[in-house]
Subunit: 401 residues, 2 copies
DNA sequence: CTGAAAGCGCTTACAG
DNA sequence: CTGAAAGCGCTTACAG
């Protein structure tokens, strides 16, 4: 008998394995048996827990003090690790705390001057743009980095900082004292709200952001390699390319502007032609890239470039789609090089050659410096640029002779 | 002269456009000129702001009361929209509040019984798994849905709820009073911590989760279509497929178990063969899918199935890679059908036919019911299943004769 | 309609 | 080493 058939003999919702045991032995369908056993076992355990009848009342520091036979002051000292508490007292109090699963309410702590140990993460951008899989990785990396430093993350999506209500929402989160610092991703250059909050003394972490006014110690930035464009041109040049097109991003982002400038520097240094017909301004999502490439390529089919530099990987994927529609093989007819190093590029056909940036490092650099600033460390570097690294995959080919 | 050359005449970091103006007119390289002008204009505006010399002191409700010539009680009444304040007084107070950009500290509000207006979002899973682009969309959707209901989101990544320190981290967030409710994504069935927190009276929202003990009003779930598998089999059957393989997910997730059962129900209903060699247990990420498919297919090359049902889209992409390696054309030799409806499937080659689930709807359903529960609405549905919809793209072909 | 006062749960200088 | 007390910023019953 096929063991999997067992499933069918039972009610649809009957088969539930507990997580921890199930993980061990899910080799094949013998799991079915395991599931049955585990289910029984767990059911009992679960009921036991319920029956233990823990009161689950909410105790405060007063209760703990009474139970431990000390004062609230002492309880507080133990919790905050003061060293003027004898070991014996500490143990006595800790025991009561542990037994009652006591956790001090942050509301009280905050009010008496504590910090929230929370960092605000603001993802700025119209939702359609913010909610795409490439950029939502931001959240993961940030949370990861913050957690490692012992901070929680309060995340928000802000469609448009220019909008008064949106700006107010952000301002409120700061002013209400919900966060110790704020991180911003996707803000256009020179945003007044950023300036305002900085002047208010808030600790600000800014990803891909340029501010032209003077540095203040509470404003930290991390930015992309401003020479990424030249690196791309150098590489294509070394492969024999002499007719290179550029698809730009959105110049409100400093990274896009840097890349644009850098591409041009590279082209000029190598004495390569800069034709308007081989320059397109796009955006930062793949639809923008597809549209820009479609327009550019179809208007110069008689004089095609041999390579295209895309502002970022998303744009490069857009270029892929445009080339597919136009019947231009990549890298046969046209080589494409991206920017970012997103993992999707590993799986695209062909795999995308790109200038990879270590996003995780960028975020942890920013978080680390923000936390260092909060914790009054000295000499925290304020502006960091993350170098990008050429990652050769399959989308650029060497030109013959 | 090429306008873009302008860039090169200036310092690398000179060219910065302000966001709002730049957005309007980034048609082509005339933007360069705009940038220069904007930069000048903005610099002035920015300096003006700095000079306005707003003191940015931190006022409290006492200060506001004094400035408005009323008592703190009245200030509080105005802020909280009590209706026993005459219009005139309200206006007087609001004016002072507005002028001073006063926002009440949450610490005080919380201590006097207010709610945090914050929902905890716990993404459970080992980081490698949690930090992939398909699942990080979760965050976006949740934050979006919560924001719409006026709640903030405190997000955490929890590698492993079984780990004591991890579980404690979660417990602490609840117990410290940082959040009003918690949402969990990626939890194995019947997790004791979930049970504990539920019994403590916390409002819990659970995504893709099954609990076998009785329902309590503070535990809400949203789950995938338990009949998704049958829908896939029905579809393949209608295309003429009679030799169908299944690659399962991880049975600790109720969705994977439901799908498995449902595939089998479908196969049996249509009287199709269930061979162990055509059944593989995988996982939920593409690497799992690739490995499982590789193993399964290479061990039955003499008797291949004509179609494969993949537990989800990530697994399906893994199957793609396996087929590519084995030289099996999709859908020529093998049809593949996924589960999820992720946008990546639109761009894969061939585009992935799948059973699409409206994730956004799932999340907003969960958030809405959690918030309704927090706000003491009555008759809030506790368990919701989201139907999946067949989305035909290019990865399944009709078999001849 | 409105103010004085109590109280929420903590921490920390102060006094002993 | 440790407790009594003040104070953090708010809300809300209570009294007028």
């Amino acid at each position: 008998m096929q063991p999997c058939l067992l499933f069918l003999l039972l009610n649809k919702h009957e088969f539930i394995a507990t997580g921890r045991e199930c993980g061990k032995a899910r080799k094949d369908f013998t799991i079915v048996m395991t599931c049955i056993i585990m289910r029984k076992k767990f059911a009992r355990r679960s009921r036991l827990m319920n029956r233990r009848g823990i009161p689950f009342e909410k105790l405060n520091s007063n209760d703990i003090a009474r139970l431990a036979g000390v004062s609230r002051s002492t309880v507080s000292r133990v919790i905050n690790g003061y060293d003027n508490v004898p070991e014996e007292t500490r143990e006595k109090v800790m025991k009561v705390i542990r037994e009652n699963q006591y956790y001090p309410m942050i509301s009280g702590r905050l009010l008496s001057g504590g910090s929230t140990k929370t960092i605000g993460l603001f993802r700025v951008g119209r939702p359609g743009l913010a909610i795409d899989s490439l950029s939502s990785n931001y959240f993961m990396h940030m949370i990861d980095a913050a957690t490692r430093r012992g901070y929680l993350v309060l995340s928000s999506i802000i469609p448009n900082l220019t909008d008064k209500a949106n700006a107010n929402h952000v301002r409120k989160i700061f002013m209400e004292g919900r966060i110790d610092a704020g991180l911003f991703v996707g803000v256009d250059n020179n945003e007044p709200l950023i300036d305002e909050l900085t002047q208010r003394g808030m600790v600000m972490g800014l990803f891909d952001y340029y501010h032209e006014y003077e540095d203040t110690p509470n404003r930290l930035t991390v930015n992309f390699d401003p020479d990424a464009g030249e690196k791309a041109i150098d590489y294509l040049y070394s492969l024999g390319h002499r007719r290179i097109a550029v698809i730009d991003g959105n110049f409100c982002r400093i990274s896009c502007l840097h890349r644009h400038e850098s591409y041009l520097r590279g082209l000029i240094r190598h004495n390569l032609p800069i034709h308007n017909k081989w320059m397109a301004s796009g955006g930062i999502v793949s639809e923008d890239g597809e549209k820009a490439a479609m327009q550019m390529l179809s208007s110069c089919m008689d004089d095609l470039p041999t390579a295209i530099c895309a502002n970022n990987d998303s744009v490069a994927f857009g270029v892929y789609r445009a080339c597919r529609k136009l019947g231009l093989d990549i890298p046969g007819r046209i080589s494409v090089i991206g920017n970012d190093g997103h993992e999707n590029g590993l799986y695209s056909q062909p795999a995308l050659t790109t200038l990879a940036t270590d996003f995780r490092k960028m975020f942890s650099s920013l978080i680390d410096r923000v936390v260092d600033t909060l914790e009054k460390k000295e000499e925290v570097p304020q502006n960091v640029f993350m170098p990008s690294v050429l990652t050769e995959r399959g989308s650029c080919r060497r030109l013959e002779g």
